[in-house]
Symmetry: C2
Subunit: 328 residues, 2 copies
């Protein structure tokens, strides 16, 4: 059987994660890395893989699925619809508020060109969404809770790095364990933003910088930190490089609900991730769903999909018989 030809646009943490994931899936091959940088500066891990400038995508390339590994803020809203007009595409768009618009744009482009797309694939949005859905269908009377962490938020780390006098920073999102336990016990608590998560910041300040002023700027930053209990630790660059180099993450989706004629029974559903590498796990999910996109495209199912629309069997490298035998 022909291998599925995967290409990746963008060679940052996520793009390298895709490369690692393709290596674990023998039915796939990495057909190309496309980048906005000078291709000569890219050192891929995969021997012999083609590295091209992004502009080459304008001419038809021999690709089954193009994985878009760019940022959700400004890049994916343009790129995913654009390339859905030429290729089968998949992204991990995670700007929750803009998903309806992004879906509509990608759907229109993919349908017009006869291609297949999937958006917002990863773990949140992605596997967390799927488990919110599973728990919701199983327990119509109930409430969903999502906790993130302990893990590095790159958006929050970047926000700190932009403060004057800050050389480097790492921000951890930390779930409040007593809140998680209250939800797990089926108590259905009402929780404020502050009661659900705290934030820990490890900051490298420039020589002579006003640390108290940096701390104040962080903890009062609207949207990012003001609504949370935030702790700031000043450390050296050596300490940051030694102790905070990884990108761990994870969290829990919990639904607590009621069954019975008079709602007399409590049922709790939890999905939990504990990840050493957020980008590698995200990429690994994307690559599996790229397989689903390739299969849907072969069946002629054009347009945009989310993880709710795709049977899980399509993302697995097994026959229906194997899946039923090994996983049911």
């Amino acid at each position: 059987m022909d291998k599925i030809k995967i290409a990746v646009l963008g060679y940052g943490n996520l793009g390298r994660g895709v490369e690692c994931a393709v290596k674990q899936n023998p039915d796939m091959v990495l057909a190309g890395i496309y980048t906005r940088r000078d291709p000569k500066t890219i050192r891929p891990l995969t021997e012999g893989v083609k590295v091209c400038h992004v502009s080459e995508l304008e001419q038809p390339q021999d690709i089954d699925v193009l994985i878009l590994c760019s940022g959700s803020a400004t890049e994916l809203p343009v790129q995913t619809p654009k390339y859905a007009a030429m290729y089968n595409v998949i992204d991990s768009f995670d700007n929750h508020h803009d998903i309806p618009k992004h879906f509509a744009n990608v759907d229109a482009a993919a349908k017009a060109s006869g291609h297949t797309a999937a958006i917002s694939i990863g773990w949140d949005p992605g596997l967390f969404s799927l488990n919110r859905a599973i728990a919701t269908l199983a327990l119509p009377v109930g409430e969903n809770y999502t906790f993130w962490g302990r893990g590095v938020s790159q958006g929050h780390s970047n926000a700190i790095r932009k403060i004057e006098g800050v050389l480097d920073a790492r921000q951890y999102t930390v779930p409040v364990e007593s809140a998680v336990e209250a939800v797990r016990s089926g108590k259905n608590p009402q929780l404020t933003t502050r009661q659900k998560h705290t934030r820990e910041c490890y900051v490298v300040a420039a020589d002579g910088a006003d640390k108290e002023k940096i701390r104040e700027t962080i903890v009062n930053m609207p949207d990012y930190f003001a609504d949370y209990d935030t702790t700031v630790y000043f450390i050296t660059q050596e300490e940051l490089d030694r102790d905070h180099k990884g990108l761990p993450h994870g969290g829990s989706v919990i639904r607590s609900g009621k069954t019975g004629w008079d709602l007399e029974n409590d049922e709790v559903v939890e999905f939990k991730l504990t990840l050493d590498s957020n980008p590698e796990f995200t990429s690994s999910v994307i690559v599996a769903y790229a397989r689903a996109v390739a299969r849907l495209a072969k069946e002629g199912k054009t347009g945009c999909n989310t993880i709710f629309d795709i049977p899980v069997a399509y993302a697995l490298p097994m026959t229906g018989e194997e899946i039923r035998k090994n996983l049911l």
Copy 2:
């Protein structure tokens, strides 16, 4: 919009659970309860619901989906293919070893008659299977573990009740917490049956019965108890009725796997259920997937499905837009 007309065959714990679940889903109506007993002896919870003898199913009934709530050992292997020849059907067939044969029989019957079927829907098989699949697609290099309990196993309870001198019994399957923790920590341990679960039995013995002989018979029973560390407690019928009346259950599906070019990162995925009522939760999942069966039938997708083949969106009572807005 017309409500989905659900009928149930069998009015035991699972059938009553279906009745409770239909009440929580406003897009459905319980169109009938079919039973092998004398219909006059059935006291349904739903006001005005039709109770009929099973034989009436031989004449076409006004049903969108028939939910089969019989036993997996001898009843479902006959009933599900039989009724798939006349109705859209769903069951919770849980005899893992016989699933391939059951699937083939139901698929043939449903395809021949132009109906839609789903088998092995519930939590295990069911939501546990789906999460084994999700974790497997995300982590091709890794290992799946399933722990059950703490919860009542009705099969094991029944096995004890058949022993001479036993009046009543309740058996709890208990996961070994140290084994669960070893798996959660990503250690990928090799675990024997004995290392994963223990069994606790609460037994009411007849007056004058030889309790030591009963204990010996239980702990040495092949398949059911011999491979486990089993503890037997003798209690009174009053204690059993007071302390062990419920049917709690649950458990965890955990996959621990590796990502990275040299498999340098550990990732752990866990799906966990903590259930007050095993039959009510099982029924609640079945009822949601009955909605999916009704929709697939409307689209003309005939034949048998498992939980891997059905997009989660089909089982949710929301539009695609609502699902993307609220759950993605």
